[in-house]
């Protein structure tokens, strides 16, 4: 734990962490200092002047909170008349050339300018000269649309491209009221994290082409989740909404702060991976290629399982630990071989050492922890010997060409327990639809051995069963979440003394826990 110091805000004593600037230190105890240009990931820039606070008996008496470290005994003034005047005046300055087109602006509802206007300004504009005309609806590339008129020139996007992605596509050109953010001619945003500038922008200057005009943000329900796009397991907010007469669908993924995993950002591929949760889903149970009620198909599966002498099971590396445990128990009961073969999920050379990983599966580490075999030889020989292959959401077409897969599966009946209607699912003799990762709760272990739990994000009109439930219906003995967690506790020592709901929100670092267990 960091050292604590005591200081005064508006005459009230508060205890804050030492070594932080005033915005972060005071913000952590719930006192908000307004700011536009400061962002914890990008550092203090001090250009917006919105965070000016008074320091009683201080020299200078007026400081930008983003650049001022919290010191013991400091007397910070936030609600003095002269500070309020400053905040009001800064807001008035920001709004001089702002088009105030909130009705058509996607940021409306999560806009700092709106929030601060309501909190600090609430005055009519005194301007009677025409506003400065700047570029609108500019295509910055990478799905980012820029509106120069809405911009408050805080420079967060510029600093992001310089400091985080180190690509520097954006710059601020011109001065004073003519200052604007722009790309260099012919060189659009072209980094794999560009979508973050949309989240970083405190106003509606940066909007996402993908999300543009799809929803007003106040309609969206926010559910915390874990991105399953790669092995990093970035923390995301799932913004979803059920429109009248329609199904609950996801409109966007936004990064959610987790210092231990992804920090403040996510990659663009992960950001757009919400589309796969809405589209291309397997929604009906199939017998052959005919849709049948799920109970009929499950009964047919049970018959197939009884008939088959040798059974092979294959598991997706995207499955949660709980699902893996349930399927593992099923394999043990059936005396079947369980494989986690999924080399096709790895894209060598795609990772960049920041967030994006080569491995496009969210829980490969979980396969290792549970001791599930992942080798190709073992999988192929098991499939060749088996009369029945039960595939739990593993998209084998990622690992095999379709013709090779057909050859491999010759003479083997396939039950596909699948969330998506992939070409591999189409090859199966029986198909059972299951929930995808935004629709079930579970936990995954990422590439850095951090175990993270996530809750069910949304409920579809026609809620599909989780793989755990299907495994139980097929005969897995682990009927309840408690039993599944108990099995996980056996395999993962770090979970031994934990309750399922006691897994920290930031994730449980298994490396630390392993080390702790060894020394103890």
């Amino acid at each position: 734990m960091a050292d604590k110091i005591k200081l005064f805000v508006n005459g009230v004593e508060v205890e804050v962490e030492a070594g932080k600037n005033l915005i972060d230190a005071v913000g952590a105890v719930g006192i908000e200092i307004p700011h536009l240009c400061y962002h914890p990931a990008l550092g203090a820039d001090g250009n917006c002047r919105m965070c000016l606070v008074g320091i009683e008996d201080g020299r200078p008496p007026l400081v930008p909170a983003c650049k001022t470290p919290a010191m013991a005994g400091m007397k910070v003034l936030l609600d003095a008349a002269h500070i309020k005047k400053i905040q009001h005046d800064v807001m008035e300055l920001e709004l001089i050339n702002h088009p105030t087109d909130c009705p058509v602006c996607d940021q409306a509802g999560e806009c700092k300018l709106q929030d601060y206007y309501m909190a600090f300004d609430q005055a009519e504009s005194r301007m009677n000269v025409p506003q400065v005309v700047k570029g609108k609806k500019m295509d910055f590339g990478a799905g980012v649309v820029h509106d120069q008129e809405r911009c408050v020139v805080c420079g967060r996007c510029v600093r992001f491209c310089r400091q985080i992605t180190k690509t520097g596509e954006l710059g601020i050109i011109n001065r004073t009221d003519d200052a604007r953010v722009n790309i260099f001619p012919g060189r659009p945003l072209s980094n794999r994290y560009a979508g973050n500038v949309v989240d970083l922008c405190p106003v509606g200057a940066m909007t996402s082409r993908d999300f543009r005009f799809k929803q007003r943000v106040w309609f969206l329900k926010k559910a915390p989740g874990i991105c399953h796009g790669c092995a990093k397991g970035c923390n995301i907010t799932i913004d979803h909404n059920r429109e009248k007469y329609k199904d609950d669908i996801i409109y966007r993924f936004r990064p959610r702060l987790n210092e231990q995993v992804n920090g403040y950002f996510i990659c663009d591929a992960g950001r757009l991976s919400y589309k796969a949760e809405n589209e291309g889903r397997l929604t009906e149970a199939r017998l052959g290629n005919k849709a049948r009620p799920i109970d009929d198909v499950l009964a047919a599966c049970t018959r197939e399982i009884e008939r088959a002498e040798k059974i092979a099971l294959v598991l997706s590396p995207n499955c949660s630990l709980e699902q893996m445990a349930a399927v593992q128990a099923l394999a043990e009961k059936l005396g079947a071989f369980l494989s986690g073969y999924s080399d096709g999920y790895i894209k060598p050379g795609d990772g960049d050492g920041y967030l994006i990983q080569d491995d496009k599966a969210a829980n490969r580490a979980g396969l290792g922890l549970l001791g599930i075999d992942c080798s190709r030889e073992a999988f192929e020989s098991a499939v060749q010997q088996a009369q029945l292959l039960i595939n739990f959401n593993n998209d084998l077409t990622r690992s095999y060409k379709e013709s090779d897969l057909k050859k491999l599966l010759q003479g083997t009946k396939v039950i596909a327990v699948s969330s998506h209607d992939t070409p591999g699912t189409a090859l199966a003799d029986l198909a059972i639809p299951v929930a995808s990762y935004s629709e079930y709760a579970g936990s995954v272990v990422n590439c850095d051995n951090i175990l993270q739990s996530f809750a069910k994000g949304l409920s579809k009109n026609n809620d599909l069963a989780d793989i755990c439930a299907i495994a139980v219906q097929l005969g897995s003995p682990l009927g309840s979440p408690k039993e599944r967690f108990a099995l996980l506790q056996q395999s993962i020592s770090a979970l031994k003394d934990l309750e399922p709901d006691k897994i920290p929100a930031q994730g449980l670092n298994l490396n630390d826990s392993e080390a702790a267990n060894v020394t103890a």
Binding site: P103, V104, R216, F219, K244
Partner: protein
């Protein structure tokens, strides 16, 4: 808090009342008195001769909705969803899209109002920042025989004219 009991005096127990017929004739005298009086001269009747005589709709009457247009007949609505957000009956369903004619950035590609669910409160009109939705068509009676036809679309909302002149409407307090 005990309930207050008030005993009402029961009528109809006198001999004349219990004889029944005298009371019937008294009642009938009143009824026929009105009938003859009104047959001879109906000017004093407090009844509107609807539908022969249509009611006079004041400007501030909240009738069926319409979407207003710019002078070149293009839609004024910018699909800000304020009306949908405010609608207590949740009867407005909008889908937004890109607008390319330069009048605004955004416009509705779908704008449905389900009149069966609408409670005619007028909150949508008050919420609209660009005066795009009004309830000044003077249409107070919407009838049909299937549910679907009560869902007004963009086309229908745009083509229905207002029943009042601009000056009258503005005077009405809009």
């Amino acid at each position: 808090m005990g309930a207050q009991v008030k005993t009402i005096e029961r009528k109809g127990s006198s001999l004349q009342e219990r004889l029944y017929l005298p009371e019937i004739f008294k009642g009938m005298a009143t009824t026929f008195g009105h009938l003859w009086r009104n047959l001879l001269d109906n000017r004093k009747l407090y009844v509107r001769h609807y539908p022969e005589v249509q009611p006079e709709i004041p400007v501030r009457w909240r009738g069926r909705h319409r979407l207003t247009t710019h002078e070149d007949q293009t839609v004024k609505c910018v699909a800000c969803f304020m009306c949908q957000t405010n609608c207590p009956a949740n009867c407005i369903m909008i889908e937004a899209g890109e607008r390319l004619d330069g009048k605004a950035e955004k416009m509705p590609v779908k704008f449905n109002i389900d009149l069966l669910e609408c409670i005619y409160c007028g909150y949508c009109v008050e919420a609209c920042p660009v005066d795009a939705i009004r309830m000044d068509t003077g249409i107070f009676s919407v009838t049909d025989n299937n549910r679907e036809s009560f869902v007004l679309g963009l086309e229908e909302l745009l083509t229905t004219p207002g029943a009042f002149s601009e000056e009258e409407y503005k005077k009405g307090g809009a």
